[in-house]
Symmetry: C2
Subunit: 356 residues, 2 copies
């Protein structure tokens, strides 16, 4: 099967580019002596989580238990970087522990109490305390860490594995200097909070996230582990934060269905294919090889608007680099894996829709 045989819209992953991104991140972490635990939320694919493990990752990160069930290679270490609550999820987490080494996140007495029901005295559940380093989502302030550590210490079915944070606010940064500051501050906070718990603080994991902050995490010694996700495929958002178009491995193949005016063309990929998650005004997706963007989109229409002449014609196929790749992959049941010779083969998005 060739790329020309694909019906549109269709998610296409360039295998060589994705593997190069995986290798480059593994090398950067190895050189810095920091563990890499990639977040599977971007690819949601066993194929790529295995490739990340083969390249030297210490394990995987997953957002949810159901995601871990589908995309963690058997035997691998999996950090479910989330509060696991409710009887149904606790049961699934216990089952997951039969084939994977599992770590989970906690940020409240309630979450600690529920996690304690999953671990056993013979096999305590390792937990990490989530620290809010500025994203203001979940996580506790550094000042609250010691009290949670004490609570964990009182549970014989739990083991305190370390601290973690996610620097989502780096996506709102406007300069490399600001990204550097965010990364340095986060690492410093985790180090400080670790020291406040125990004199043996160096043994605790200090795990940080977010692809655009990676170069700065690595320079700010003190993090023991990185959890980037988007780096595997990159996207227009990552390019806006320092990556390169040449690294973008995920594109949506689309067909021009209408050219109502010289300055407006419409493709058959809208928000049900390209997603609308976090997209800034006018930048739903970049049209590869053309100086054009999908500037707005409805569910099944991507609208390319420009100042001059778009130069596209009805029936023409284009490849689009989405703004934010993670939700795009999650919309697709499968992707076409593109080889250097333009041959393609279908691969499932194993963890698609796994948000439970």
């Amino acid at each position: 099967m060739r790329i020309d045989d694909l019906d549109t819209p269709c998610l296409v992953i360039d295998e060589a580019l994705a593997l190069a991104n995986i290798a480059a991140m593994a090398r950067a972490c190895a050189d810095a002596g920091v563990a890499l635990r990639p977040h599977a939320k971007t690819h949601k694919s066993l194929l790529f989580s295995q490739a990340q493990m083969d390249a030297g990752a210490v394990g995987l990160t997953c957002a949810k238990v159901s995601e871990a069930e589908r995309v963690a290679p058997a035997g691998s270490s999996v950090f479910v970087a989330y509060q696991v609550l409710g009887e149904g999820k606790r049961r699934r987490l216990a089952a997951l522990r039969e084939r994977n080494d599992v770590i989970t996140g906690v940020d409240s007495a309630h979450a600690i109490a529920e996690a304690a029901l999953v671990g056993t005295r013979a096999n305590p559940l390792p937990v990490r305390i989530e620290v809010d380093t500025g994203t203001h989502r979940t996580g506790v302030s550094p000042a609250e860490v010691p009290s949670l550590a004490v609570q964990i210490g009182r549970c014989p079915t739990l083991r305190l594995d370390g601290l973690y944070s996610f620097e989502g606010h780096v996506y709102n940064s406007s300069s490399a200097a600001e990204r550097e500051r965010i990364a340095r501050d986060a690492v410093a906070l985790l180090v400080e909070a670790s020291r406040a718990i125990t004199s043996d603080w160096e043994a605790l994991a200090r795990s940080v996230g977010a692809t655009p902050a990676v170069p700065y995490y690595l320079r700010a010694a003190g993090a023991t582990e990185l959890r980037p996700g988007a780096y595997v495929f990159m996207d227009a958002n990552q390019v806006s934060l320092g990556a390169y178009w040449e690294q973008c491995a995920a594109t949506v193949l689309a067909t021009v269905v209408s050219t109502p005016t010289e300055s407006r063309a419409v493709v058959d990929a809208g928000t049900k294919t390209l997603a609308a998650d976090g997209v800034p005004r006018g930048k739903v997706a970049r049209v590869l090889g053309h100086n054009l963007w999908v500037t707005r989109a409805s569910e099944e229409h991507g609208i390319i608007e420009c100042k001059g002449d778009h130069g596209l014609s009805v029936g023409q196929r284009v490849r689009l680099v989405p703004w934010h790749v993670c939700p795009v992959v999650n919309l697709a049941d499968r992707f076409a894996l593109l080889a250097p010779d333009s041959g393609v083969r279908w691969c499932p998005v194993d963890g698609r829709g796994c948000s439970a």
Copy 2:
């Protein structure tokens, strides 16, 4: 199975509310003597397309051929309100015609030429010309309609069935008066464009879309057919445009996973469950029974922020009315159909992800 047994996040559809919405729309159209051809893009479910047909719809509307393949009841009339291009789709459309009466949309000479390859002399393909009534997406200006009609007339494998439009710009309206003007203008444009084609213009379909414009389409005599989609479930966006919270049949059941501050709580449903499509600032989803909104979301976190005290606790379950329901349903492989006694049963989202 009861609603309390569901793991979260989970899409829950209140069956009685959805059926009431279906009945009300069918009644309004019947009273006005206008045909109803609901858009299946919202529910993507054979269960609900069958319910719409049972309530008196003349047929269905689908955005794409793959959607029609999955959600159109056998034997029903289906309008694929899209330009069907490419050999693969033409083949699928021809196959679909073996079990359904199919109509498609065209807005260019290229689309007409491709459609002509699907119809046969013995069984011409009915086509409708898409007219841009102000959304500025696909569709031709009313002035271009006659020339397309002539082109269609020259193809013995096609039959001109009528005109259609979609008033997407009604979603940007700020008053009922503006919605009325948009609806009246659209209907008037289709009537005028029909008259420009043929003296037998009354025999042509004049089909308009968009749920919030429905009351005004019905008053502005001249449309022969309505294609609303979102009315089946309603959502916070529809409420902002005149619908009622009591009509909202689709909710996402979620669990509070963290309460970092008195004014911030976090649920386990983010943009991978609630979607981010068209969401205005601060209104990702409304928390049912609380005076609260999910004000921002990342992929797996919905963040509820308020001025005072949210009053929620970790582990508590809430039901969320999404801003825009169509992409929310498309994210779910299945939904829990809720009966009045709080019993639930699983139903597939048959057309999930069908954008080809």
